[in-house]
């Protein structure tokens, strides 16, 4: 199946029904610029390494993501472990370790903002950089978490937030140097191709120096979204 993801035409070969279903919204008739396939042998090897995924169809789907992620930085793009939302044309990404509550937090934002908010991707958006564009674009991808939240759309990524749980709700600006450890855990750096790995680091650095960075400490009350939204968008309106 040929898919258009992050404005790239990518072919995925020999898909299982499971992967086909998830790729379907991205299906395209254009000719592919690159093709990926996953062999039974690769699935078997991966199965031994990954202890928490046993289903071979899910493993195949994950391996396709790994292969695309290795290739992306050669094309000015990285994959970020984050939830990405679009608020009337402004992209806000929430990065956090699995289990921290990214999904819970963006659902609070959705409750607060209603139709003003679109969940572009709930788990693994691609971030693509273009010449002459101030901000990179965050794109929806087929890999959007167990809740399957996402679209095929894109939004300029203006804010990158790092979430942690806490009792009180706060939102404070951060400098790039303050997120170094966190971003290395949340952005994918290729493991097979040194040039792709080097490019990924360059792009991550660019993202940290372009996007506004925030640390959100939050509980699970609606106030968590109110505090973060008001702080981030007050800043943005002042800039405008």
């Amino acid at each position: 199946m040929i898919c258009r993801i992050a404005d790239f035409n990518i072919e995925f070969k020999n898909l299982s029904q499971f992967a086909s279903k998830r790729f379907l919204p991205f299906k395209s008739d254009s000719s592919p610029m690159v093709s990926f396939s996953v062999s039974k042998k690769e699935i078997a090897t991966h199965k031994k390494l990954i202890s928490n995924i046993h289903n071979e169809n899910v493993l195949e789907f994950t391996l396709f993501q790994n292969k695309v992620s290795e290739w992306l930085p050669l094309n000015n793009t990285i994959y970020l472990h984050a939830a990405l939302i679009d608020i009337e044309g402004t992209g806000v990404a929430f990065a956090a370790l699995s289990g921290t509550g990214k999904t819970t937090h963006i659902l609070l934002w959705q409750k607060l903002l209603g139709d003003k908010l679109i969940i572009v991707n709930g788990d693994r958006p691609f971030i693509r950089f273009f010449e002459n564009e101030k901000y990179p674009y965050g794109y929806g991808t087929p890999w959007c978490g167990k809740e399957n939240f996402g679209t095929t759309g894109r939004v300029p990524l203006k804010h990158l937030c790092f979430i942690e749980r806490g009792e009180k709700n706060t939102c404070i600006p951060l400098k790039p140097s303050e997120v170094l450890e966190d971003i290395l855990k949340q952005a994918y750096i290729p493991r097979n191709d040194p040039q792709a790995a080097f490019n990924a680091v360059t792009l991550i650095n660019k993202m940290l120096n372009t996007c506004n960075l925030w640390k959100i400490t939050c509980n699970m009350d609606l106030e968590a979204a109110e505090v973060a939204y008001n702080t981030i968008f007050k800043e943005q309106n002042n800039e405008a």
Binding site: S177, L184, N192, A197, V201, N205
Partner: protein, 89 residues
Amino acid sequence: MKLKYDFIINDIAGQKVAIAVSDNVKYYSRFIKINDTGAYIMEKLKDDTTVKDIVKAIKTDFEVSADQNIEQMVNNFIEKLKEADVLEC
């Protein structure tokens, strides 16, 4: 001794970082914060070498003042690499 993995070195958020490019590397071995001297030493460690040879190379390639203990500096960095488990001796 030499490095177990291929590394790339790049700057991120004002910090030089060495990153292992390998499928088999554990997370704690993957990212190492370094400075310019560390980058130089890692370059030397791509091939099998010794502390003695690295010290000699630094003394040849850089202007080193008499009171600088280069051997100590190299040993400290090697220790950091050993802790990250990225050296094979």
